[in-house]
C-alpha cells in the first residue's frame, strides 16, 4: 500500500460523489464536462506525489540510473509462420496477399517433376502454384505428388510484379521478433537450403527459418522453365 500523505489526509474524491463518477450534480461540470479536465482533479493527482520517499524506492532508482541507458528496442520484424512437413519457416508479412483455402490445382502438361505444381484459381485469376518444399530441398522431386497438394492452406504471395501460390501444411499466423533475435543459419544442420534462409529465430523452442524473399522469388522465376 502507498504510504499516507504527508498531512495524513487522502485527497477528497469529489468526482465520485458529485462528479462524473457520482451523481453529476457538481456545478463545475457545465464548464469542464469531464472531471479529468477540472483543476480539483489535477490537484488531487499532484497531491498523490506529496508522499514520503520510501528508502527502497530511492535505492532502486539510484541503481537504475547508475546503469547505462539502454537504447529503445528497434522496430520489430513481422513475419508469417508456416510449416512444410516438419520444417517451420517464415516470410516477411509484407509479401503476403492472402492465405487461401486449399483447392484443386490444375496440372500443366509436362510439368510434373519441377517446382511448378500447376495453376490455382485465386479469385478468378490463375496463378502459378509452386512447391516451396522442393525448391528448398525439403521434398525430393521424385516423391509422387498428389495434385491436391499436401497442404491445407495456400499462401498467396507477391514480390515485385510476380504472384505465386504455395501450398503449406499449416499456418501459424503472424509472429514479430527483434532483428537481434535472428541468428546465422547453421549450414550443416539446416534442412532447408541455407541459400534461401536469411537467418534462424526461435519460436516455442523450435528453430524457424526466416526466408530471404528476394532470393526465393528469383529462384522461383529461374525454376519455372524446369
Amino acid at each position: 500500500m502507498a504510504p499516507p500523505l504527508r498531512n495524513g489526509r487522502e485527497p477528497e474524491d469529489c468526482w465520485s460523489r458529485i462528479g462524473d463518477a457520482g451523481d453529476g450534480s457538481c456545478s463545475e461540470l457545465a464548464k469542464f464536462i469531464r472531471c479529468r479536465n477540472c483543476p480539483v482533479h489535477a490537484k488531487a493527482a499532484a497531491d498523490l506525489l506529496d508522499r514520503a520517499l520510501a528508502p527502497e524506492y530511492r535505492r532502486e532508482w539510484t541503481e537504475h540510473f547508475a546503469q547505462a541507458k539502454k537504447p529503445a528496442a528497434p522496430a520489430k520484424i513481422s513475419s508469417v509462420l508456416f510449416r512444410i512437413q516438419s520444417e517451420w519457416l517464415a516470410l516477411p508479412t509484407q509479401v503476403f496477399q492472402e492465405i487461401a483455402e486449399n483447392r484443386l490445382i490444375h496440372s500443366v502438361p509436362h510439368r510434373r517433376q519441377g517446382v511448378v505444381l500447376g495453376l490455382a484459381n485465386i479469385r478468378g485469376e490463375l496463378l502459378i502454384c509452386a512447391c516451396l518444399g522442393r525448391l528448398l530441398g525439403l521434398q525430393s522431386p521424385a516423391q509422387p505428388e498428389n495434385l491436391r497438394a499436401t497442404g491445407h492452406r495456400l499462401l498467396v504471395v507477391r514480390w515485385d510484379a510476380d504472384r505465386f501460390v504455395f501450398p503449406v501444411d499449416e499456418v501459424q499466423g503472424i509472429h514479430r521478433f527483434q532483428a537481434q533475435e535472428l541468428r546465422e543459419p547453421p549450414t550443416s544442420t539446416a534442412r532447408a537450403n541455407p541459400a534461401y534462409t536469411k537467418g534462424i529465430f526461435l519460436w516455442r523452442q523450435q528453430s524457424v527459418g526466416f526466408l530471404h524473399p528476394e532470393r526465393l522469388f528469383a529462384a522461383l522465376n529461374r525454376n519455372l522453365a524446369l
Partner: protein, 161 residues
C-alpha cells in the same frame, strides 16, 4: 508563435520555471553520495548512467533548508555550461517538479526588481495561481561553487554504489 515549454518547480511557496529544452531528464530524488565539506547548497554526487554528476539543492540554496524527501521532489538533470563555455551535466534538486507549462516568451516581463546587489530577478509571468519566475540555474549558483563542482567531481566518485 514564440511558445516555449517550461518545467515548473517550487522553492518554498514560490513557483519557478526552467526552459524544458535545457533539461536532459527529470529523475526521482536518488541517494546522494555526501561530499565532505561541500559548500552550502551542494547536496552531493550521484551516479548518472555511469558518470558522476553533482547535485545542487536549489531549496537549500535559496531557502536555507534542504528539499523535503517526497515523491514530488525530483532531480532535474540539465546541461550546464560553465563560465568558460564547457558543457557539464548538473542535477538540480527541486520540490514539486511535477508540472509542465507552455507559455509565450512575451508573457514574461522584467520586473526590474533586484534579488541581490548586482543581479536582477528573472523575467516573471502571471497565471491563475500567481507569479512564475523564469529561472536560470546559473544565476542561483555562484561561480565559486560552479568551479568547485566541475573541477573535483570526477575524483570523488571512486566507488560505485
Amino acid at each position: 508563435m514564440n511558445d516555449v515549454l517550461f518545467l515548473l518547480f517550487r522553492l518554498g511557496n514560490d513557483r519557478y520555471a526552467i526552459e524544458a529544452r535545457r533539461v536532459i531528464e527529470v529523475i526521482p530524488l536518488l541517494e546522494l553520495k555526501q561530499w565532505p565539506q561541500a559548500p552550502k547548497g551542494v547536496a552531493g554526487i550521484f551516479n548518472y548512467r555511469g558518470r558522476p554528476v553533482p547535485a545542487v539543492d536549489l531549496c537549500e540554496l535559496t531557502q536555507g533548508r534542504p528539499a523535503r524527501a517526497l515523491l514530488s521532489t525530483r532531480i532535474i538533470v540539465v546541461n550546464h555550461p560553465d563560465a568558460r563555455g564547457a558543457q557539464h551535466v548538473l542535477g538540480l534538486v527541486a520540490e514539486h517538479a511535477t508540472e509542465m507549462l507552455r507559455k509565450n516568451i512575451g508573457d514574461f516581463v522584467d520586473t526590474g526588481l533586484k534579488d541581490g546587489p548586482t543581479r536582477r530577478l528573472g523575467p516573471t509571468c502571471m497565471d491563475a495561481h500567481g507569479a512564475i519566475q523564469w529561472v536560470d540555474e546559473k544565476r542561483l549558483i555562484s561561480e565559486p561553487i560552479s568551479d568547485l563542482l566541475f573541477s573535483n567531481s570526477a575524483q570523488l566518485l571512486d566507488a560505485p554504489y
